[in-house]
Symmetry: D2
Subunit: 284 residues, 4 copies
C-alpha cells in the first residue's frame, strides 16, 4: 500500500477554500486520491478531508506543516495531518463480554484498517489468555466504588505510557470519571447498546423490551462527561419481535454492537470523523 | 384464492390449549394452512393465530361460532374469526402529503392484501381528484381550533356510516381528540415519522437533525389518547448523514413511512396483530 | 431553493485537475456547495461532479460554456452542465402493474426531486384515469408481435415531441427493440425485478423461488440492446423465507422495485450517475 | 435454562397431523413452548418443529422414542429429537482468514447458542495460539494436490474421533472431495462469499467488482459434491459503491460472512433447518 497523507480540516465557511487548498497541493505536484467536503450551515463552518500520495509531493511528509501553515492561517483552518506510516495506537478497554474485544482483535490481526493495539485494560481477568496469545500486554485494573479515583488515574498513566491515540470502550462496564473524560476529550469512543437517544443509561435492552419496539440498536459515540450524550459517530439496528426476551436481545444486540463499534472506530482511525459542535461530520 | 378463515385468540397460559384447538379443527376435518403461537410470560397469556381452509370444514363458516364456543369458554379464550370473503373496510385519513395515500391506493388497486377503501377523509382538498379517479368518495372535513369537536363528531359519523373496520392516519396532521380515540379504540393506526420512543411529538426530523443521529425511522402504532404512546406494530429506519438537512430527512423519511405503514396495516388486516397490554404480538 | 448549476465530467486521470477546475470556479467567484470525485483505475479516468450556486458566479449561467471550454479542452473533459431551473423531462412507460407508476407520480406531485412528467405511455389503458387526474397526457400505444416496429417508432416520435430527457420503464412489460435502445442510448432506465446478475430474463421471482434464496432483489439499470446487461445504477434486496410463494415474492418485491427505481431515477436526474464503461459511478 | 426437547419432523402432508402430535404431547402433560409448521406444496410435504419442556413430560427424555414411534409410523414421519443437555459438537475448519473463526470462538465462549467446539482443523498454523488459548485442540492438516486424498481421510478420522455432529467451513479455502461430502452429507455447512447464485466459484468479489453491482453478499449453505450448489440456509448483503476496489470488498464482505455463517449455524444447531429437496425450511 502506498504511503498516504490524510489532511483534514475545518474553518469558517468562505468561497475559494477548495481552490486554495487544492492549488497548494497541485503546485507541489501532490496527487489527491480522495476528497470530501461539507458545509455545516448552522455553524457557518466548512469541513474537508483529502488523501494525498506522499511520494507525489515535492517535499517530504515532515515538511508539510511549514509549507502549509501560511495558507492554513489565512483561512483560519483547524487542521490535522496523519501519515499512513504511523498507525494509530488504540487501547482497548473491556469487561466480561467478549464480542467487541474478539472482533477488534481479529481486525487488528488482519489489519482491516491500520491500527495497533498496544495493550488491553480490563476490570476482569477473563480475557487475559486470548489477549496474550496475540502478544498484546493485558492490564488488570479492578474498579470498585472505593478505589475508583485511583484506578482511573492508573489507567490514565497506562494510556500515557502506551502513547494511546485513542481509547475504545469495547463494552467496558464502568462509567469513566469526569477527570478522565476531560483529560482525553475527543479520544475516547464508546459503544452504547441502544439506538440513542432512546434508552440511554442502564439496561437498555430491558427498556426496549418493556416498550415493545420492533428494532433494537447500537450507537458508537465519543465519550463526554455527560453519560451517553456525546457526539454520535455511527448507529445501526437489528430486527426483533414479540418472542424475543431481554436476554435474546442481549444476544442479538451483540452482532450490532460489534459491527457499529468497528465501523465507528475505523472512521475515526481514518480521520473521516470531524467534530462539529455536539455532532459529527463522518466522511465516507 | 381459497376462502380462508382466520382464527386468532389469547387466553391465560395453560398446557393443552394447542392440542385442544387443533383437535377441534381436526375433528371437523379442518385443514390448517398456517399456525403461530406465543406465550407472553409477564402477562401469563397465550396467543395463537391459525388459518383454516373454509371448504375443508364439515360445517359452514357461519356455524364456526356455535361449534367453537364451548371450547373457547373452557380455556377462557378471547377470540375473533375473520373470513377472507369479507375484506376489511379501511378508511384513510390524509392531509397534504401524498406519499402514504398514493401507496395505499396502489395497494388497494392491486389487492396486495385484501382490503377495501370505502372513502377518504381529509382536512385539505388537495387529493380529491386522484381519490375520485379511483371511484372512491372523498370527504373534505376541515379542522380548526374552533370547530374541532364538531369536526371529529362528523368524522365519527362517516366512520359509522361506512362501517369502517379500521381507520388509518396516512400522515394526517391533526391530533384526534380523546373521545374519538376512545370510541374507536384498537381500530385506529397511525404512522409516526420517528423511531419511537425517540423524537415523539412535533417535528421529529428536526429533533433528529439536532441530535445528529445517523439513522431516521418511522413507527406504525395504534392510536391511544396518549400522543405517540400507543402499542407499536412496526418500525423501520433509513440511513442519513451529516449532509442531510431536516428537509432532506423529510424527503428520505417518506420512503420509510409509507412502507412501515403499509406493512403495519397489512399485519392488522390479516389478523396477525394481537394486543398484549401496551405491546403487540405480531405473527408473521 | 437557490438556482444551482451542476457540472459533471470525466477525463483521463492526471494530477492538477481538481485544482484547475476549482480555481476556475473560484476566479469567477463561484461558490461550490457540493463536490465529489473518483478515479477509475482500470480505465485511467477521473470523474467529478460539483454543484455551484448560480448567483455567485460573475457571469450568467448561459456563459458557462464559453468560459469553461478552454480548460475543458486542455484536460480532455467530457462534461455536462445542468441547471436547476430546467428540470428534466421524464417520460414514464408502464403496463398493468401500478406500484412504480403511482410512486413516481407521488414524487412528481411533491417534487421529491426536480423532474417533470410530460406524458405517460402505456400498452394498456388501465391507468389512464389516474394519470389524467394529474393533468398529465396519457398515450395508449398497444404493442403486438405484428405492430412492434411501428409501435416503437410511434413511441420514439412521442419522446421527441415531448423533448424527453429520460425514459423510465416503470415495470413496462415489453422488450424495447434495438433501434429504440440505440436511438436513446444512455437515456432509458429500467427496473428489473431481481438482484442482477442473478435471475436475468423472464419470471425472476419464480427462478428465485426455485433456487430457495433467502433474499430477493431489484436492480435499476440503463437499457442497452443486451437484455438486463446494461450498467447498474442501484440495487436493493428484501428478506423472504420458505413460506413465501412466487406470488408472495411478486407482492413483496414491489416495495423494493419502486424504491430502487426511484432512487436510481433521482440519482440520474441529479447528475450523480456517470457512465464508466459498462459500469456506473454514482456520487452520493 | 430449562432442559428442552426439540422435536422436528417432516412427512407427507395430510390433515390431522398437528392435532395428533400436539394431542400426544398434551396426553403426556408436555408443555409446548414454541411451535412452527410449514407445508411445501410442490413436494406435498409437511414440516414441523416444536420445543417441549423436558420436565413437564410424564416420561423421561430417553423414553420419548418408544412412546412416539407408533404415531410417527402412522403418519410416515421422518423425525429427530434433540436434547438441550447434549449440545452439538461443531468442528471448525479454517485457513488463514480469521474473522469467522474468531466470531465463532467468541460465541462459543459466551454460549450465544448451545454448542461445543471439540477441535479446530486447519491447513495453516496461523491460528494455533488463539485456538489453544481457549483450551481447544488444534489439528494442522496441510492439503496439497498430492496428499489431498490422504488429508481428507485424516480429517474424516478426526471428525469421527471427536464425534462431530456438524462441520463448519469457516472460510476454509480448500474444496472438499466428493467422498467427504458424501460421508458427512447434511452435516457440513459452508460460508460462500457471494450472494448465490451470483458469482459462484472462485474470487466472487472480483466478479462482483467487474459487474459493477451495488451490493455484495454472503451465503451459508450445506455442502454437496456440486460446488456452491447446496441448499441455502441464510444470506445477507452489504452496500458497496464505485469507489470500492475488490480488496475493499474483501474487507467489507467479512462483516457479512461472519454474521451470515453464525446465523446459519445457529439455526442448524437449534434444529430450525429442515431439508426440503434442494431447498431448506428455516423456522424462526
Amino acid at each position: 500500500m502506498d504511503r498516504t497523507l490524510t489532511l483534514s480540516f475545518s474553518c469558517p465557511d468562505a468561497s475559494g477554500i477548495v481552490a486554495a487548498v487544492s492549488s497548494f497541493v497541485a503546485q507541489h505536484k501532490g496527487w489527491i486520491t480522495e476528497a470530501s467536503q461539507h458545509t455545516e450551515h448552522e455553524l457557518g463552518r466548512f469541513f474537508m478531508r483529502m488523501e494525498i500520495k506522499a511520494s507525489s509531493l515535492d517535499f517530504p511528509p515532515e515538511a508539510f506543516g511549514p509549507h502549509f501553515s501560511p495558507l492554513a492561517q489565512q483561512f483560519g483552518l483547524e487542521w490535522t495531518l496523519s501519515d499512513s506510516d504511523q498507525p494509530r495506537r488504540v487501547v482497548l478497554l473491556c469487561s466480561k463480554q467478549e464480542h467487541c474485544l474478539y472482533d477488534l482483535l481479529a481486525r487488528q490481526v488482519s489489519q482491516d484498517f491500520r491500527f495497533i493495539v498496544p495493550c488491553v485494560v480490563s476490570n476482569h481477568e477473563a480475557h487475559r489468555k486470548v489477549v496474550e496469545a496475540h502478544g498484546i500486554p493485558f492490564h488488570y485494573v479492578p474498579v470498585t466504588p472505593e478505589n475508583k479515583h485511583a484506578a482511573y488515574r492508573r489507567m490514565e498513566q497506562i494510556f500515557r505510557d502506551e502513547k494511546a491515540d485513542l481509547i475504545v470502550l469495547a463494552r467496558y462496564m464502568q462509567v469513566l470519571d469526569e477527570e478522565l473524560c476531560r483529560n482525553f476529550a475527543g479520544k475516547i469512543i464508546n459503544i452504547h447498546h441502544s439506538f440513542l437517544p432512546s434508552f440511554a443509561g442502564a439496561k437498555p435492552y430491558h427498556q426496549a423490551h418493556r416498550r415493545g419496539v420492533k428494532l433494537i440498536g447500537a450507537t458508537c459515540h465519543f465519550v463526554t462527561p455527560e453519560l451517553d450524550e456525546g457526539p454520535i459517530v455511527e448507529q445501526d439496528v437489528i430486527r426483533v419481535d414479540h418472542s424475543d426476551t431481554p436476554d435474546d436481545m442481549v444476544q442479538l444486540g451483540k452482532d450490532i454492537e460489534k459491527v457499529v463499534l468497528a465501523r465507528g472506530l475505523r472512521a475515526v482511525v481514518e480521520d473521516r470523523v470531524l467534530l462539529a459542535g455536539h455532532k459529527t461530520v463522518v466522511f465516507r
